[in-house]
Amino acid sequence: MISKRIEKPDARLSIGFIYIAFIALFLGGLMGLLQTLVRSGEFTLPFGIGYYQILTAHGVLLGLVLTTYFIIGFQYTLMSKSVGMSEKQRKWAWISFTMMVIGTLMSGTMILLGKANVLYTFYAPLQAHPIFYIGLALFVVGTWISCFVNFSQLRQWKKKYPGEKSPLMAFMVVINMLIWLISTLGVAATVVLQYIPWSLGMVEEIDILVSRTLFWYFGHPLVYFWLLPAYMAWYTIIPKIIGGKIFSDSLARLAFILFLLFSIPVGFHHQLTEPGIDPFWKYIQVVLTFMVTIPSLITAFSMFATFEMTGRKKGYTGLFRWLKGLPWKDVRFLAPFIGMVAFIPGGAGGLINASNQLNGVIHNTIWVTGHFHLTVATTVVLTFFGISYWLIPVLTGRKLTKQINKLGIIQTFIWAVGMTIMSGSMHIEGLLGAPRRSAFSNYGGTQQAQEWVGYQIAQAIGGSILFIGILLMVYIFIKLAFRTPKGEEEFPVAEYADPTERTPKVFENWRLWIGIAAVLILIAYTIPFIDIIQNAPPGSPGFKWPIGNT
């Protein structure tokens, strides 16, 4: 059933998405470097470019563009590989791509013109140019088309093979796109119903807390939308690369279902220090937040079980000697593996962030920035790099050469070192109280602010190392896309350790899982959301001057 290779037209579609992801990586990485340099206090931006303008660009390019385009492109190849794609589906996929690109260009232009220095969270009542919000809306609607294309791909396969369990890859993609679809309803609602009419002057005022609540209803599932494609690679691809098997099909599916249920009704953990929300409901969502540790524990177990079984099968025994059986010199394994390691401190930091009261110690400090550069910018991004080493040659009909593999290992090493320095010093500086989203400042000359500068210089060093890593990765990308010798690179797809394992039928009862997800969302949000609306203060007019949008 697994098709042998990705057909040319399907490959063209996926590589289209991935081109954009790498352009975003380069531009966004440059902004990141500039940010760390400005924050060191030793550097000022030329040509009147503003710090918050580059920070907006960095957040949008890396947090939204790189991630979403890479994910959708990668997921399309997983779908082509496991269930196939029809002519009509491909046409819709291109429509989706086109809408996303138009939306991205619209919002991007406004950022370039300095009309949208609102950061990637665009909190009202800061008011950007209406085209910024319209572009965002188009982008989101574009992604929805991809959701429905993926759903119809699996449905079509099911019709062809009635009664069979769906391929694991396709199952995972559909879960992730369900999370995306359900959660983006929140941002779409606030952008279309609140921001666009308000920025166009059709209404005078905007309800701040409603817009923030709708934003964060999307903002947390967003991070799982980033993470799950990495998990897809860990579960279904890495075992093949290391010469092993998938530990358990049912566990993998169970983990993904738990993510669907528990990644959405939790947005209040980003609003713990906000007024206007009853602390009882904050706590309820904190409890739901912690439920997602369970699928991550399952994943950690499955990964290490696969690693150990593989090592032992290769004849390495002893408590830890099986580690020797893993292909450390294969970048397709090494890069994601370092990503997994980063998820240990990253996940632990996440537990701290979500801990109701402890959140007050780190909320909006640079600790948070340190945290998500470990989780998304290391765990997720290094896994995406690990995927790229074979995916790009597969899509362009080339080979991953020994030389590129070696460069990839160096790239992984550079990233690990740069990020340890940058993220480590962000974590410490944040615990000392230094804020995130801030250009260099001496805060009226306090002793505390002086102590922070050393850490900011360390971040500039880490950031410079990371930027070298980005340049190297972009070079590798160009090589793999246009230069390495033609050939047929392997698309690694793992097999099951126990092919007779019976997966419970209920795992594919989509109505049931979507229903439970909806009930959990309603439980978590209905009462507090009604409270927020009923007790709403007068709304806010737009403010343009604080962001220089005049």
Binding site: G50, T273, P279, F290, T293, S441, Q448
Partner: protein, 168 residues
């Protein structure tokens, strides 16, 4: 579905510690009363002076009892209004004796701001239309930076003040 024996142990241990952890958080919040700042009082953001605490003369440090203080803060891009001193110039430094019970009460006249006192647990969001408050006791003498930690515009890094906790 089959679960490996070690996996059962792993998940039992994991879910067990999760339960203990959540119970600890719940006891902290509901029994001992350490809730995250969640003031539910609303206000008209375009007429904050209508509220007793945010009239010009109420801003800044107010002594309300024996060893008990309220600090009223009015945030706007890009400064904290902490009232005026005897000479009529804006207050930049608040001085509070060690061990006093202090309530910080703040709101904003324009966009969303943060209110954080670096090195303490005082950290809350200020949103138009809402009052935010935080009650605490400051036990360690020293100089603390008050700063805005939520993006409020291109001058947000200039939005700061100083808190001094002194030995009485």
């Amino acid at each position: 579905m089959h679960l490996h024996k070690y996996e059962k142990i792993w998940l039992t241990f994991g879910i067990g510690s999760l339960l203990v952890f959540l119970i600890v958080l719940g006891i902290g919040a509901f029994y001992q009363g350490t809730q995250p700042p969640s003031c539910l009082v609303t206000i008209d953001p375009q007429n904050v002076q209508a509220h007793e605490s945010f009239k010009e003369e109420s801003l800044g440090l107010q002594k309300v009892g024996e060893n008990e203080y309220v600090v009223n803060v009015l945030a706007s891009a890009f400064q904290y209004n902490l009232g005026k001193d005897d000479k009529g110039s804006p207050v930049r430094t608040i001085r509070i004796p060690k061990g006093a019970n202090v309530t910080f009460q703040a709101t904003t006249t324009d966009v969303v701001h943060g209110f954080q006192i670096a090195g303490t647990n005082v950290n809350m969001m200020l949103e138009p239309g809402y009052i935010s408050d935080f009650e605490t006791t400051l036990d360690n003498p020293g100089e603390y930076t008050i700063l805005c930690n939520e993006y409020c515009g291109i001058g947000q890094h200039t939005m700061s003040a100083v808190l001094e906790v002194y030995e009485p």
